[in-house]
Amino acid sequence: MKKYLAILLTLVIILGAAACSPSTPDPDPSTPPTETAGGEVTDPIVNPDPILIGCIQDTSGGASIAGKPNEWGVVYAVKWINENGGVNGRMIELHTRDCQNDAEVAVTNYRELVDEVGVCAIIGPPLSNPASAWVDLSTEDEIPIVGHFMDELCTTNPDTGETYPYMFLAEPSCSVQSYILAKYAMEDLGVSSVASLYNISNAYAVAHEKPFMEYVEDHAGSVLARETFTWTDTDYSAQAQKIASLNPDAVLLCDYANQMVTAYDNLRDAGYTGKILGANTMYPPFNTLVKNQPPYDCFFVQNYDLKDTDTGTIAELVEMQMTETGTDYPTSNVGFGWDATMVLYNAMLKAEDPTNGPEVREILESQTENILSSGGKYISIDPATHRPTLDLGMYIATYTEDNEIVCLVYRTTDYSK
């Protein structure tokens, strides 16, 4: 009797276990769309797992003025993507890290995101020092990185001229921006003699200054002085006086905001009254921080026309960011974060497996064409450089007497060196 009872119980347990097991197998991300007998295509089974993406920005270091709005742009773009169906139905899960504008911290951030979190792609910062530390790592781990690290050394090997396979830039490089600025200065402003005052320890500044001077020299302009300072310097009066005594038509400033402010004030205090040409870091809050109010004869490159509410979404994005974060001034970096995310999103949309690094990389390289940026322009990646094609230009902006920023013209360049 006991033997029958045991067999019966065993059967009940087996049947019960079978009843409790999943009725359908786990969806396979590689499952292709299936056809019914009538030839209709059914919806593919969507992988419920989110796509893990990393975002590394400087939110507490020396470039956090740019890093925080940049991160906001990425977060907002991911939110928008998820609210609009994700990547072919899969949601994106964003993991953000603060690199503190420190290459060593950036490597730690990268390792943590790749090894511990398991991200399949990274949105990088608008900083060249951290990004240049990832070029080998991203190749080794097959992790595509899209960002605004404008130094060309972050996307191209300077010795071989070959691209780093997994590094992609989503805005014009430092060189292109400098060529556009130099061209405008010489052709539109009539500048023929220039000087520069820049931080020689800052890769961003060096990557702007050198091509600018090359352009000027190649176009029969004269370079009167190339004055430098370092991170630890807080006063550039001596350099400013030397420049003022030479009285060039224009002086190039191409650093981060706080160095730009000191350089501008030191030049004006030294009696220099000529034109000041600036990198895109001359945007606000530069105009509110300089002591010589209001700043005058400043001409600088800008990625977006923040006041143009008809073209693109940048004005709307910036307004939202200012409201949400309580920021007093508009910053273009909101658009940087958005644009980099959209470039990556476009590649993932086209990929069979958006978490497959080599596949996404291949699409980023060869199929990134006419991605609408937040500024209303189109981003296409040149496969030979992993940077935008030269039809993506920059605005030339200035400050009015009322201390308002205004974009004068939109320019591109076909010059290259």
Partner: protein
């Protein structure tokens, strides 16, 4: 050009002097270099900035300076209570003071970064023109103000230390705390007075440096190296020596940068400092407060 460079050097030196005096006043009595002074300067700059912003019509700058001096005094007491008082009671080794002051400086900078971020903030300009001319020489308005304030501080401090009862107490505690206690002087009260002076100096420096540069977390700490050099070269603990050395430092720095460039300047400057200290280890003042570093 040389005279213009000289004026620029004096202006730059005035900024260093402001920081160096804060160092010197603490060292003269407590015989250690209070590196937390840089963090205090930054904290006071933020206090002054938000004080000004809290009014629809910003108050005169001297009111802001009085306010930040008060904030500096309070902060100074807090730092003494947290970091130094127990060390004094336990008569801890000198290195503990050094570590405590460095720690407090880093702590303040990081707290400011957490609460305010690294965004830059600007004080409203107090001068219509940032420079003024005397003959053909151009003077920076804010640097001239800083120089005047530094010299005024020096005068007040010398008067305070040489001509008042609290000054007498400070001098006696500086020479021998135990003996001065036997003479009826309370060393704890005297030390609090010293910290109050240093705190007030940090408050004044915070506003003036913020008006020259901007408000950001490392505003004060980035000046500490030059301020410390000036206080050492001036003769540790000597107020007049610190100001003289700071101005000398500013002048040398400007001339070296102008003629040799910014990269060569620190190398030449530090070699000159080493040579000077090897020849005259007691500094410009010719005497230094002994014991701790």
């Amino acid at each position: 050009m040389s005279i213009q460079l000289l004026i620029s050097g004096i202006s730059l030196g005035a900024v260093y002097a402001l920081v160096a005096v804060g160092f010197a006043v603490v060292f003269s009595v407590l015989k250690f270099s209070n590196f937390a002074h840089g963090g205090m300067i930054s904290a006071c700059a933020y206090a002054g900035f938000y004080f000004q912003r809290s009014f629809s019509n910003p108050p005169p700058i001297y009111l802001t300076i009085i306010f930040t001096a008060g904030v500096g005094i309070t902060l100074s007491f807090v730092i003494d209570t947290i970091a130094y008082r127990r060390l004094r009671k336990k008569q801890s080794p000198n290195i503990y003071y050094f570590l405590a002051s460095i720690t407090m400086s880093i702590l303040i900078v990081n707290l400011l970064t957490i609460f305010f971020g690294k965004n830059l903030y600007a004080f409203p300009p107090i001068f219509e023109n940032t420079t003024f001319m005397i003959g053909k020489i151009r003077f920076s308005s804010i640097d001239s103000l800083i120089l005047i304030v530094s010299l005024a501080i020096l005068t007040i401090l010398i008067f305070l230390i040489d001509r008042t009862r609290i000054g007498l107490a400070i001098r006696s505690v500086a020479i021998n705390p135990a003996t001065s206690q036997l003479m009826g002087i309370n060393p704890d009260v005297t030390i609090m007075a010293v910290f109050a002076i240093a705190g007030a100096l940090a408050g004044i420096s915070g506003v003036l440096l913020a008006m020259k540069l901007s408000v950001y977390p490392t505003l004060g700490s980035q000046m500490m190296l030059k301020g410390f050099i000036a206080s050492v070269v001036g003769g540790l603990g000597s107020l007049g020596g610190a100001i003289a050395a700071a101005i000398l430092l500013g002048i040398i720095e400007i001339f070296l940068t102008y003629y040799f460039g910014s990269l060569s300047m620190p190398i030449i400057l530090f070699v000159l400092m080493l040579i000077f200290l090897a020849i005259r280890p007691a500094g410009i003042a010719g005497r230094f407060a002994q014991e701790k570093v």
